[in-house]
Symmetry: C2
DNA sequence: TGTTATTTTGGAATCGATTCCAAAATTAAG
DNA sequence: CTTAATTTTGGAATCGATTCCAAAATAACA
């Protein structure tokens, strides 16, 4: 049904001016007389003319498009906010995003980059779906690139990552300032794992304890695997301690789910018998659990936005690592012993 | 650092042939002599030449790009598979996706469409994040459009939606064939709600019961609100019945979470005392709950793929509504009374 | 009013590919 | 060894915008 689209020539002819003038009107060039401007605009309106993006891009060498390469969104749906932040920021500046999920496949990743370069994207965002080190081919150096939720060993790109230490510290502080003294932590991976989350959060945990002159007790730190089942087991052993914790910091919301189950199986009430704090602010869990789970939120949306904004300030600044704070989302899973 | 990109002219000069010949090599035209072909290809290789997508699109009037307009992905993260299906299918055909989430804002939706038309997308996918009726402006008629997980009242587009009735039927059948006879259903909305899911699933439920000569018992059908809290309450009233159900069909996994909580609070074991089946196959819940939740999966990925495939078969066929079956994902929340 | 300075305009050249047509090269036929 | 038929090639025209430059129109000034 689509009636053939008009070109700038059609408009020029109809308005009885030159193509140059139409172009100037389109681009709000000041050097066009008000009367002709409105004449041209009238014609543009009347004919419902829309300039061809392709032609414009070819001539100006600007695609008004960014590439967004993501790895494995699917496995971590709560990270969609990453995409959302980037998309919204881009949209506000009249840019669109070419998005491809490379599914953690290095080859696909390279081909995605190629397709995007072919299309003259003005920049690339490479986003991991959880905080990790990544290694990117040389090809990524040929266009402004910013990393989200990840970094490379050589630090050649500007990157943004969540502040795991601060998050661990704040989560623990929250428990401490509510009057809890025996606070346990269930890590989502071993401290030697290649993922920075576990080690960072643990460090924050220790720092917060030290602030109030407490030592991290070995029996209170458990190593889980990020899933509910592992946390279930960890919680059981924690509560079997001679002097069990009154509060548990679970390093993922999924683990908090397991902890909830374990506590209930022991007929313990949350938060009256044991307080719990999670990590990720994964709506499906944190909001739906009973009682609703207090948790640390990952700054996904903020990092996505920031990445686009970096790209927009084109003249690539020296590669820096930006660290984003994780806010505490307070719900009902923490008992207030003192204020 | 990006060294200037070569043009087809550069290649032609270097290979000592005309631009036409280079173009023919690029497009695998048969009419080029093997010896010149390899000569040209060598130069292309050596200079790492990549044709400009913009120039090519302008000339051929083909953008190799589809638009994907989504509404409110954010609120329903498990629907990302919709995007994933579309993206993968597009990728396999050398196409890329321009994705924008219009956030349920009709104005933004229109502007997104405009931006996409400007860029000469070859088709548009409009995806709702849960099954619903939508209304789209006339502008959508100007380019091949296919709807995913939604439909318009006037049925002017080809659309794909999940088969709610089949899903409701299969979920209930599963419970029945395991030997359960008093099976309750907790709907995710009232039957009069504008969302087809509740009514469809309920109809399937009734059909399955009728197949084995059972009547739907009014006291066994509860109206929830899709969230855990409402299902918690519903479950309590179900179990307080003189003759409580031995199986509960929860129309969302989030509600199943509430049902789990309620049953545990009554010291009832799943699945030994009560069996539960969910809906959505939302990994965070279904896989992490204990015991893992049997549930109906929404065919998100399949619908996304299908949409792209429809678009690829360009000559738009008459608008049809395609209904996608929802598979049963069997886990451990159903007790087998008989086989 | 005649000059000069300034504002506004038209249109050719350009971006980098594809495509078409006529010319050149090659092959086949006589 | 011609001539005709066929294959291969070069390059101009084209897609639809922007941009630059010179020309035309207008304004300013004496």
């Amino acid at each position: 049904m689509s009636t053939k689209r008009y070109t700038i020539q059609d408009i020029a002819r109809q308005a009885d001016v030159g193509v140059g003038t139409v172009s100037r009107v389109l681009n709000n060039d000041v050097s066009v007389k008000p009367t002709t401007r409105s004449k041209v605009q009238a014609v543009i309106q009347a004919m419902d003319y829309q300039p061809s993006f392709m032609a414009r891009s070819l001539r100006t060498q600007k695609s008004n498009t960014f590439g967004f390469i993501a790895d494995a969104v699917t496995t971590t749906p709560f990270a969609v906010n990453l995409v959302k932040g980037a998309q919204d920021a881009a949209w506000e500046h009249g840019k669109l995003l070419l998005i491809v999920d490379a599914d953690n496949n290095p080859e696909m990743r390279e081909r995605a980059l190629e397709s995007m370069l072919e299309r003259d994207v003005e920049g690339i965002i490479y986003a991991a779906m959880f905080h990790q080190e990544v290694s990117l081919s040389e090809a990524f150096g040929t266009v402004p690139t910013v990393l989200v939720d990840c970094y490379t060993a050589d630090n050649r790109f500007t990157a943004s990552v969540p502040d795991e230490v601060q998050a661990g510290r704040d989560a623990t502080r929250e428990l401490l300032r509510r009057g809890h003294e025996r606070v346990a932590i269930i890590l989502n991976a071993s401290l030697e794992s290649p993922y920075p989350a576990a080690a960072g959060r643990y460090q924050g945990y220790c720092e917060a304890l030290e602030e109030v002159n407490l030592q991290p007790m070995p029996e209170l730190v458990q190593i889980g695997e990020g899933n509910a089942a592992s946390a279930f087991a960890c919680t059981l052993t924690l509560m079997a301690l001679p002097d069990p914790p009154t509060a548990i910091f679970c390093c993922t919301d999924r683990m908090a789910l397991g902890t909830y189950d374990a506590l209930r199986s022991l007929n313990l009430n949350i938060p009256n018998d044991v307080s719990v704090i999670g990590f990720d602010n994964q709506a499906v869990i944190a909001e739906q659990l009973y009682p609703p789970l207090s948790t640390m939120a990952l700054p996904h949306e903020a990092m996505g936005r920031w990445a686009i904004e970096q790209l927009l300030e084109h003249p690539s600044p020296p590669p820096t690592n930006h660290v984003f704070p994780c806010p505490l989302i307070s719900r009902a899973s923490i008992k207030i012993l003192k204020t």
